[in-house]
Symmetry: C2
Subunit: 158 residues, 2 copies
DNA sequence: CCTTTCCGTTGCGATATGCAACCTACTATC
DNA sequence: GATAGTAGGTTGCATATCGCAACGGAAAGG
């Protein structure tokens, strides 16, 4: 097995590694943040993020390849191309929000702008947290890592 | 203000960028995954992840610098150094879990091992989701990006 | 002593990124 | 319909980061 294949295994043996293979490169998260905030066109991403054009091109291509963004011609202006989130891409919102809330709390020290609010109550969304199946908030002390097979044996024994 | 300028402001201050400066490099998330799974020693990280030793040294140093890991001598063996998560580091759990769940759902297609369970009910934890302040699950359609000052004006007007 | 283990560091080649210039469609203006 | 400008790239080249293997000091262990 080649070194590259070994690495791929290391990355892929866990959902985190699998996810990072797709969105773990530099700029990918920032491009996605832009997409969630309404950026659609190449030039918008480029000027707003200050990313190098070749890298932006590469990242957009990768995100499209992996089905996270959809690439369509702009019907209003045939020079333009629109990049938008697919469902797979939109489903990354919890990742982005967790990261953002952590950054606000521990690095920048203050909430950033704009705020994501409940459209109807106008209240900012709640902090992301880990919850039990029945909705209680869990801290690390309340949790345990269990091998999947051991867990199956437990439930069979019960 | 032009649309481009509006967008520039949107991105100027954001916790995501701040967070990525600290944990956005290659391997950082995987090292943290290891730490959450109980890895403590340099050699454990190295053999478990297959990461190059110089890079591992660099990343551990950065994570310690930023207060995400604590570096202590091992009282039982003075050759050894233990790296453990600080509170700031443990607070990254929602990020890691969101990423992992996304990877399981959209990339690897199956849950990975081991599973994080509620210590008492033995049930796997719930999927990470975005919630309103009063605990309802929100989808993107239920939410809206609002400028912080506009939001303040809204609440004053009400 | 002598060997092994642990946590790095160093040198060097390979890969990824940044920057500027260039290119091809298409659009807008006159 | 010639000219200029815009959108979305590509290409060449410099720099930064990464991966690998070899080496080193300090502490166990025998």
């Amino acid at each position: 097995m080649s070194r590259a294949e070994q690495l791929r295994e290391v990355f892929a043996e866990c959902g985190i590694g699998a996810a990072l293979e797709v969105v773990g490169e530099r700029w990918s998260f920032l491009i996605l943040r832009g997409a969630f905030n309404g950026l659609r066109h190449f030039e918008e991403f480029q000027t707003n993020l200050g990313i190098a054009r070749n890298i932006l091109s590469n990242r957009l291509g990768r995100l499209v390849e992996h089905g996270i963004l959809r690439r369509d011609p702009d019907p209003a202006d045939r020079r333009k191309v629109t990049y938008r989130l697919t469902e797979k891409g939109r489903d990354l919102l919890p990742v982005l929000l967790s990261l953002r809330q952590w950054g606000e709390r521990w690095i920048s020290g203050h909430p950033s702008n704009p705020v994501l609010v409940d459209r109807y109550t106008r209240q900012p969304i709640a902090p992301m947290m880990v919850q039990s199946a029945d909705g209680r908030e869990l801290s690390l002390r309340d949790m345990e890592w269990v091998d999947r097979e051991d867990l199956d044996r437990e439930s069979n024994a019960a």
